[in-house]
C-alpha cells in the first residue's frame, strides 16, 4: 500500500488515471505572491467549483460515476479561459503541466455526451462550413489576392500562416507582418489556409481536427516550405504543441514572428532608423507565455526599439493576468470575457503608459474590445505593428 506510485508513465494518455491527484489545496488560484486571485474563473464565480481544483474534482466525479453529466457541470468546465495560471502555480510536479490538457480532454467528453454549450458549437459549425473554414463565419479567403498584391511565389522556403483572427479581424497586424517579411527579403508564400483548429481544440470539439491539420500540412508541403511562421500566439501554440499530437512529421519548423525579429536583431541584420518615443507595457499572451514559455523574446525586441521605455505591469510573465479571450470564453461568455480584459487594462493604467503591446491578435481583439467598451483610452498594438511604424533596414536576412 504505502509508497507505491499509482500514476503511469504515459501521462498524456492516462489522464483519467491521474486526475484524482489534485488535493484541492488552492495554490492554483493565486498569483505568485498570493496577493490576489489570478484564476479569472475563480475570481468571477467564487464557488470552489470554479477553481481548477474544483474542476478536477468534478472531472473525477464524472469518471468515477459519482456525478452525472449535466448542463451545470459542463458550464463549469467551459467557464475557464484555459489561461494556464493554474499550471503555473500548482505545486504537484508532473501533474501541474497537464491541468489545461485535462480540462480540454474533459471538454471532449462533454462534447461526446452532448453537453457542449450552444455558443461554442458555432465555432465548429463555421469552421466546418466549406464556404468559411474559419471560426468568424467569414467567407474563406484563399489568400490568392494577397499573394498577388505582395508578389509571392507558389513555392518558397517559408509559409506565413496568417491565422483566422489576423486574416479576418486584425488585418493591420497581418499586413504589417507581410510588409516586414517582404522587407526582410524572406522567401515566403501564403497558402489557402483553413483554421488551425485552436478554438475547437480548446473547446473539446476535436472530431474534425485531424482532417484540418492534414489539409493545412498538405498545403504547406505543396509549397516546398520547411518553415512556417505565424503572427498569432494561438496558431503558434496549436501548430507547435497540438498538431504534433495528430501529425508525427517533424519536417516543418514553426516560428512566431517575434522569433524571426529577435534573430535578425541578434545577428545585427535589423537596424531601426527612427525612434518610437513611447512608454509601452507588454501583455503576455497566455498561448505564447504560460503555454509556450516565451516571455523574454518580445521584451528583448521592445527594449531594443529606440525610444521605447518598457514598463512592466505588476503581473507579468508566468504571473500575467489573462486577457479573457481564450478557451472559448470570448464566444461562450462575451460579457465576462471583456470584464477580464478590463482588469488587465486597469492594471496597465497603473504603469502610466498609453500603449499596450502584445504578440497575439486574439489578445489584441479582446483588449481592444474592453478598451472601447469601457473607454479606457489605450492604444493597443502588436509588436509587429510598432515596428511597421518605424523606418528600418534589414540586410542579408537570407
Amino acid at each position: 500500500m504505502g509508497g507505491e506510485i499509482i500514476i503511469s508513465a504515459n501521462l498524456e494518455k492516462d489522464w483519467k488515471d491521474i486526475v484524482h491527484r489534485c488535493f484541492r489545496c488552492g495554490y492554483c488560484k493565486f498569483t505568485h505572491d498570493y496577493s490576489d486571485f489570478n484564476c479569472p474563473s475563480y475570481k468571477k464565480y467564487r464557488f470552489e467549483t470554479y477553481s481548477t481544483g474544483g474542476r478536477l474534482w468534478l472531472i473525477y466525479g464524472l469518471i468515477s460515476g459519482e456525478l452525472d453529466w449535466n448542463k451545470d457541470v459542463a458550464n463549469v468546465l467551459y467557464a475557464c479561459s484555459t489561461c494556464g495560471n493554474c499550471s503555473e502555480n500548482c505545486r504537484f510536479d508532473k501533474f501541474n503541466d497537464l491541468l489545461v490538457d485535462i480540462i480540454e480532454a474533459a471538454r471532449e467528453e462533454a462534447v461526446k455526451n452532448g453537453y457542449c454549450p450552444e455558443n461554442q458549437k458555432a465555432l465548429v459549425e463555421r469552421i466546418k462550413n466549406t464556404e468559411m473554414y474559419n471560426p468568424y463565419g467569414e467567407k474563406n479567403s484563399n489568400n490568392e489576392a494577397l499573394k498577388e498584391e505582395y508578389d509571392l511565389p507558389d513555392e518558397a522556403e517559408w509559409v506565413y500562416y496568417i491565422g483566422c483572427t489576423s486574416n479576418y479581424r486584425q488585418k493591420e497586424l497581418r499586413d504589417a507582418t507581410l510588409r516586414f517579411l517582404k522587407k526582410a527579403n524572406i522567401n515566403f508564400t501564403l497558402i489557402d489556409e483553413h483554421c488551425c483548429c485552436s478554438p475547437i481544440i480548446r473547446t473539446g470539439q476535436t472530431e474534425c481536427v485531424k482532417d484540418f491539420i492534414n489539409y493545412n500540412m498538405m498545403k504547406i508541403r505543396e509549397t516546398g516550405a520547411s518553415k512556417v511562421i505565424t503572427s498569432c500566439a494561438g496558431c503558434y501554440r496549436t501548430m507547435k504543441s497540438d498538431w504534433i499530437k495528430h501529425d508525427d512529421s517533424t519536417d516543418i519548423e514553426i516560428f512566431h514572428t517575434v522569433e524571426l525579429i529577435n534573430d535578425l536583431l541578434n545577428e545585427g541584420k535589423l537596424n531601426f532608423k527612427t525612434e518610437f518615443n513611447q512608454k509601452i507595457t507588454y501583455h503576455d499572451p497566455c498561448h505564447l507565455g504560460r503555454h509556450m514559455k516565451m516571455y523574454e523574446i518580445p521584451r528583448d525586441i521592445l527594449n531594443r526599439i529606440p525610444g521605447v521605455e518598457l514598463i512592466e505591469m505588476e503581473r507579468n510573465r508566468g504571473n500575467a493576468w489573462c486577457c479573457g479571450a481564450g478557451g472559448g470564453v470570448k464566444i461562450g461568455y462575451p460579457e465576462w470575457s471583456v470584464e477580464i480584459a478590463k482588469e488587465r487594462l486597469e492594471e496597465a493604467k497603473k504603469t502610466d503608459t498609453a500603449l499596450i503591446s502584445s504578440a497575439c491578435p486574439f489578445c489584441r481583439t479582446n483588449l481592444n474590445d474592453a478598451n472601447q467598451e469601457f473607454e479606457m483610452g489605450f492604444e493597443i498594438l502588436d509588436i509587429i505593428e510598432i515596428i511597421d511604424n518605424l523606418d528600418y533596414e534589414i540586410t542579408n536576412s537570407n
Partner: protein, 456 residues
C-alpha cells in the same frame, strides 16, 4: 423542506450569482480533501456583508435548516461537510482587510481573508510585521485557522493561533451581531480582556456557536533575518528535555519535529528543525552555536542541510500539502493531537505502530506551542483518493490514533465527528453538561453545524 421557496429567499438575500443548489456545486461542497466520506448539501451560499449573514441565519432558524460556516475548507477532518444536510456558508467573499494597526500590532479582517492575502498585504505594506499563519496552503482563511485552535508560524514563541485573537464579531443563531473582546466597548480591537472572556466559546467549537464575521488577530514584529538549524536525534527519549532546554534558552522562534520512514536515509531519526531569528548575522551565528551545543549535550547532532531543503522550510507558508502527493493519490489526513512534551516519545511510537499496521509509510511530526507548554503532534496518513478501500484504511488509522492519543493523555485537534465523540466519552461530565447547556442556550433549534460537539 420546500427547496424552491428556500432557494428564492436565499437569492433575495445575496443575489442569484452567489447561491447555488446545482449538482456541480453541491458535489464539490459535499466533501473536503481529507478522508471523510461525502455528505449531502442542500445549498451553498457566499455572503458579502454581515447583514446578509444575519438574514441567512434568521431564515435558517425560521426554517430550521442547518448552517455550516466554511473558511478555506481545508481542515481535512470534514468539519465543513454538513452532517444533516443544510446550507454551507462559504465566507470567502467577506475578504476585506479593514485595518492594520502597526502600533498596536493587530489586523482587523473579515472572516474570508486568506492567509495568502494577509501575508502578501503585510509583505507589501508593512514589511516589518508578520501574521500568525499555519503550515497550510495560502487559500485557508485566517479566521478559520484561528477558530480551530490552529498553530503554525510563531506558535512556539507566542502560543496557538486561537490565543492570538483579540476580538470577534459574531452573528449568533438569533441573527443578532455580538462583539467580543475590547471591540465590545472600544474602537480599538487591541485586546481580549479585561472583561469576561467569551471568545473561547467560538474556538474549536467548529461553527456550532455562531458565525464569525470579523476578527482581530495579533501581528508580530518580523525580525531582519531568519534561518533554520537542523538537529538529528536517534533516541526519542531525549526529546522532551532537549526541547524544553531550547525553549529555556529563548533562541527559537519556532520548533518543528519531523519523523519519516521515507526516503530511507530519514528512517530511525527525529529531525529537529529550529527557526532562529536575529537582527544581525552575528546573532544568528551565536544562536546556532547555542543549539549545536544543546544538540551535542542531548546525544543528538547538528545537521547541515542543502540549500534547497532550507528553502522548503523557510518558505511562508510551508508547502505541507505536499503530503497529499507522497503516493500520487491526492489525499492525506492527520491526527494532530495536543500533548504535553513528555508524551512525544510515546506518540512517535504510537504513530509508527499504527502507520505500519495500516500499511502506510510513517510520516509524523510536531510543532511546539507556547514555549514548551504543549506540542501539536501530527500523525499523517496519505491515501489514494481513487481507492475507497484505501480511504477507509486511512479513516480507520485516524480513529485508532485518536483513541491512542486520548488514552495516553493527549487531545485530538480539530477532530472529525467520530473523534469528537471519543473526546466527549472521556470528558468530565460537568464540562459536557455545561457545553450542552451553553449550546442549547445559544442555538435552541440546533441549526449551527449540527452533529459537531453533540453531547448525547
Amino acid at each position: 423542506m420546500e427547496v424552491n421557496k428556500i432557494l428564492n429567499k436565499l437569492i433575495e438575500i445575496v443575489g442569484s450569482e452567489f447561491v447555488s443548489n446545482n449538482p456541480a456545486d453541491l458535489y464539490i461542497y459535499s466533501q473536503d480533501p481529507g478522508a471523510s466520506e461525502p455528505r449531502p448539501v442542500d445549498f451553498v451560499i457566499l455572503p458579502k456583508k454581515v447583514e446578509e449573514v444575519q438574514k441567512i441565519v434568521r431564515l435558517a432558524n425560521q426554517e430550521k435548516i442547518p448552517i455550516i460556516p466554511m473558511g478555506g475548507g481545508l481542515t481535512l477532518s470534514g468539519l465543513v461537510i454538513p452532517n444533516r444536510r443544510g446550507i454551507v456558508m462559504d465566507m470567502k467573499r467577506m475578504n476585506k482587510i479593514i485595518e492594520i494597526s502597526p502600533l498596536n500590532r493587530y489586523a482587523l479582517i473579515e472572516a474570508g481573508v486568506t492567509s495568502g492575502q494577509l501575508l502578501a498585504h503585510l509583505n507589501n505594506n508593512h514589511p516589518d510585521l508578520q501574521p500568525p499563519i499555519p503550515d497550510a496552503p495560502p487559500s485557508i482563511t485566517i479566521a478559520g485557522n484561528a477558530l480551530i485552535h490552529g498553530s503554525g508560524y510563531l506558535s512556539q514563541k507566542y502560543g496557538d493561533h486561537g490565543s492570538m485573537i483579540n476580538g470577534l464579531e459574531v452573528v449568533l443563531p438569533d441573527g443578532e451581531i455580538y462583539k467580543f473582546g475590547s471591540c465590545a466597548l472600544s474602537d480599538y480591537w487591541f485586546t481580549r480582556g479585561p472583561i469576561p472572556d467569551f471568545i473561547g466559546l467560538f474556538i474549536s467549537s467548529f461553527g456550532t456557536m455562531g458565525i464569525v464575521t470579523k476578527l482581530s488577530i495579533k501581528l508580530f514584529p518580523k525580525p531582519n533575518m531568519r534561518d533554520i538549524v537542523f538537529g538529528l536525534c536517534k533516541d526519542p527519549s531525549v526529546l522532551p528535555e532537549l526541547i524544553s532546554n531550547i525553549t529555556y534558552a529563548d533562541v527559537a522562534e519556532d520548533i518543528l519535529l519531523g519523523i519519516q520512514d521515507k526516503p530511507d536515509w530519514m528512517k530511525g531519526y527525529t529531525f529537529i528543525i529550529v527557526y532562529i531569528t536575529g537582527e544581525t548575522e552575528e546573532e544568528l551565528i551565536n544562536k546556532t552555536k547555542i543549539l549545536k551545543k544543546m544538540y551535542r549535550k542531548a546525544k543528538s547532532r547538528y545537521m547541515k542541510v542543502p540549500k534547497r531543503i532550507e528553502e522548503v522550510f523557510l518558505e511562508k507558508p510551508q508547502f505541507a500539502a505536499k503530503a497529499a502527493d507522497f503516493r500520487k493519490g491526492g489525499g492525506f489526513e492527520y491526527v494532530g493531537a495536543f500533548i504535553p512534551l513528555q508524551l512525544i516519545p510515546k506518540m512517535i511510537q504510537i504513530g509508527t505502530d499504527i502507520s505500519l499496521k495500516h500499511g502506510i509509510i510513517p510520516t509524523l511530526g510536531a510543532r511546539l506551542i507556547g514555549q514548551g507548554h504543549s506540542a501539536m503532534f501530527f500523525i499523517s496518513y496519505s491515501f489514494n483518493r481513487a481507492d475507497p478501500k484505501d480511504m477507509k484504511n486511512a479513516r480507520d488509522a485516524l480513529h485508532e490514533t485518536n483513541k491512542a492519543a486520548l488514552e495516553i493523555g493527549g487531545i485530538p485537534w480539530k477532530a472529525e465527528i467520530a473523534g469528537q465523540q471519543l473526546i466527549m466519552e472521556k470528558m468530565d461530565p460537568n464540562y459536557k453538561k455545561l457545553l450542552k447547556g451553553i449550546k442549547n442556550l445559544i442555538d435552541p433549534n440546533g441549526i449551527m453545524n449540527p452533529g459537531n460537539w453533540e453531547v448525547k
